[in-house]
């Protein structure tokens, strides 16, 4: 029997069932993503410069209400609300920082938007940003309203609109599908409201909130309160898209000086008017996590959230899958 006839047989025999051959376990690459996560907070890794899961943290100043945008060249750009270093104490402004990769320390934060309008009452924060062509459009909370600022240099400098876009509202979330603008907000009604526009500055409020606390379910993660909406427009593999809403939910009101323990939930809508919550009454990011901001790229997603680190609120990162 010629060895040539035996050679491939011998090789095959030697590999058969031993597991010596390719050991990969596939079928789980690049699975579709809808925005519903779940998002897992980055686990601390002593081998990386980043002190996971914290993107932005400070022993003195609080960081809250992030927004995320993709960074040119890879990584992400985060816009966060931070207490202003200047007097008076307690005023807030919006800061910008860049992170080249998920496991790297971000560049030093730079203040990009301060409260310099009367109606802002010394506070600007809660940025929500979308891209309209080459322009970045930011909606932000100031005073008792929501204002708008635009940037044409990639978010380094911003030009404010003279008057608030929406009054008696705060904590904006913003999404744009190329034709329709959706603006989510909190207005004291107890739920998350929604306004719609075709031009980005004239908005029509929906009559009723789109998400309310689940008061009839004491075990629901959003039983006591909902807040801090973030919106997105997600295009799906079928060619259609849906509006995505991430929001902070509170199971129990905090007692005394305890910090509230938010978790982040998810809802979605085909038309922006009728919304459905994620089935199973589960948050997409476990408590403690509030003030969500999500960046989806392909079949991977990054979420920034606010939670207490030590004694101050900080911005952390979570990823999916």
């Amino acid at each position: 029997m010629r060895l040539l006839h035996l050679a491939p047989l011998a090789l095959a025999v030697s590999a058969c069932g031993f597991g010596l051959a390719d050991d990969t376990s596939g079928g789980r690459d690049d699975l579709p993503l809808s925005g519903a996560g779940p998002f897992k907070k980055l686990a601390f890794d002593g081998d990386t410069p980043l002190e996971e899961p914290w993107l932005a943290t400070d022993p003195v100043f609080e960081f809250t209400e992030p927004a995320l945008m993709p960074r040119a060249g890879g990584g992400l750009t985060a816009y966060v609300t931070r207490e202003s270093a200047a007097e008076p104490a307690g005023d807030t402004s919006i800061w910008r920082l860049e992170q080249a990769a998920i496991d790297q320390l971000p560049d030093a934060a730079v203040e990009v938007l301060v409260a310099d309008r009367t109606w802002e009452e010394g506070h600007v924060g809660a940025p929500a940003i979308v891209a309209e062509g080459d322009t970045l459009v930011m909606f932000y909370a100031g005073g008792t309203g929501i204002g708008r600022a635009d940037s044409t240099d990639g978010g380094h400098t911003w030009t404010k609109w003279p008057a608030p876009i929406l009054t008696d509202a705060t904590s904006p979330g913003l999404a744009y599908d190329g034709a329709t603008w959706l603006l989510a907000f909190v207005d004291g009604s107890g739920g998350i409201g929604l306004a719609r526009s075709t031009d980005g500055h004239e908005f029509t409020r929906a009559a009723a909130p789109i998400v309310v606390p689940r008061a009839d379910d004491v075990k629901a993660f959003d039983h006591a309160a909902v807040a801090a909406p973030a919106l997105g427009w997600i295009e799906e593999g079928s060619g259609r898209g849906h509006w995505a809403l991430w929001y902070a939910g509170l199971k129990k009101l905090p007692v005394g000086t305890d910090a509230p323990l938010y978790a982040i939930g998810y809802a979605a809508s085909w038309d922006g008017a009728s919304w459905s919550l994620l089935a199973g009454n589960r948050p997409v990011t476990a408590a403690p996590a509030g003030d969500p901001a999500v960046l989806l790229e392909g079949n991977h997603g990054v979420m920034a959230f606010a939670a207490v680190n030590g004694r101050r609120s900080a911005i952390g990162l979570a990823i999916t899958p």
């Binding site: 058969c16 031993f18 779940p38 089935a279």
Partner: protein, 414 residues
């Protein structure tokens, strides 16, 4: 002329299936060898050569398919009280094929295969908590699949050699307890059964017309498992569970080197002497530490053993065919040391008495071969003196018992 050969479910070459030869080592394999107390390496020419000595397949006379069964009763005692040890039952299948090759290999090559399938469990991993008494070498070794194939070649009129494999399985995997997209607690797991082969190599020398000598080496056979269990339940549980490592050895047979001589002083009479070395010093722990916080486990200190066996077989024409009567004896030293510390891996010296009968009608219209056998294993009484600095003296134990097992096989020449 090309000899026609019919074979029951014969498998060739690189066959892989999970198996460990534990019931083979406990009771023997086939219909003839168990009735001879496990001897037969120097005399067999049937399918049982796949385990006893693959060289015997070189002389297999005819193609044959064989099916048989085994049933036993474990009567093991702990401190004078019977234990609830499951008795073994299983099905044995074998086949042999003299290969109709030509030229230099004409009438020199034989193939064989053998299966043993327990009726209750193909494989059993059983290990109680440390400190719980267990008959470590008996309680689960009877419940393992055996799957063997072999080939034998006569290289000269006096010499035959053979090689076979006993195939086993090793389990690797991971289980993750987590929350799925709909909020349900679920497990995600992936586990792979890998092949491990334990080769069996044998040689036979026809010293004279009345004497055959055999030497067989059986590589150790071992079935391991190694599963990692992780959990990611978030806030569902207020306690974080550690990573759990479930690993150990479900079944193990040691390296064996067997030397046997078969002498036929009279027509129909075969006397056999057999001595085997079992390398029990390499016996692995049944389980490893499940968590990293556990203190290191001490070595087991099992020791190698020598196993002597003797048998006698007398066959003569009768009942229209051939009748054979068989008997044998073996003594199996226990490789387990005195269990003085926390370990309670009990084992006893064992006396094995065997008897069997064979009936064959090779020339009949339906050429049948019937073999029946029975074995009695007597476990010599053993008492374990515990180290009072480690274990409370009142936790001393004694073990004893008996095993009764029998089998029947039916073969048909095709």
């Amino acid at each position: 002329m090309v000899r026609r050969v019919a074979l029951a479910a014969a498998l060739v070459a690189a066959m892989a299936a999970p198996s460990i030869a534990s019931p083979l080592d406990l009771f023997g394999f086939g219909g003839r060898s168990p009735g001879l107390a496990g001897t037969g390496a120097a005399s067999t020419t049937d399918y049982d050569a796949v385990y006893l000595n693959p060289a015997g397949l070189a002389d297999t006379p005819r193609k044959r398919a064989t099916v048989g069964g085994l049933a036993g009763d474990f009567r093991l005692e702990l401190d004078g009280q019977p234990t609830a040890t499951t008795s073994p039952r299983g099905l044995a299948i074998g086949g042999q094929v003299p290969m109709p090759l030509g030229g230099a290999l004409k009438d020199r090559v034989g193939l064989g295969f053998g299966f043993y399938v327990p009726s209750e469990a193909i494989n059993r991993a059983r290990a109680p908590f440390p400190g719980t008494p267990t008959f470590v070498l008996l309680e689960s070794r009877a419940f393992v699949v055996g799957l063997m194939v072999a080939v034998g070649v006569r290289v000269s009129p006096r010499w035959s050699v053979g090689v076979g494999v006993n195939s086993l399985a090793v389990l690797r995997g991971a289980i993750d307890v987590t929350i799925d997209g709909a909020g349900r607690i679920t497990t995600q797991s992936e586990q792979r059964l890998l092949t491990r082969f334990a080769p069996i190599v044998g040689a036979r020398w026809r010293r004279s017309a009345t004497t055959d000598v055999a030497l067989v080496v059986r590589a150790p056979s071992r079935s391991d498992y190694d599963i990692t269990v992780t959990n990611d339940l978030g806030s569902t549980l207020p306690v974080t569970l550690p990573l759990i490592h479930i690993a150990g050895t479900a079944q193990y047979d040691p390296l064996m080197v067997v030397a046997e001589a078969a002498w036929r002083p009279l027509a129909g009479l075969t006397l056999t002497g057999h001595l085997a070395w079992h390398r029990w010093s390499a016996f692995p722990r049944p389980t490893v530490n499940a968590v990293t916080g556990n203190p290191p486990q001490p070595a087991l200190d099992f020791h190698d053993t020598a196993v002597p066996r003797v048998s006698v077989e007398y066959s003569r024409p009768g009942l229209g065919g051939t009748v054979a009567a068989r008997a044998g004896y073996a003594f199996l030293w226990s490789p387990a040391p005195d269990q003085t510390r926390r370990e309670t891996l009990y084992d006893n010296d064992r006396h094995q008495l065997a008897a069997g009968v064979g009936l064959a009608w090779p020339g009949a219209a339906v050429p049948l071969h019937l073999d029946a056998w029975v074995q009695l294993h007597h476990l010599a009484y053993r008492r374990y003196q515990r180290d009072p600095d480690v274990v409370a003296p009142d936790r001393a134990h004694s073990t004893a018992g008996d095993i009764v097992v029998g089998g029947l096989t039916v073969g048909v020449d095709l």
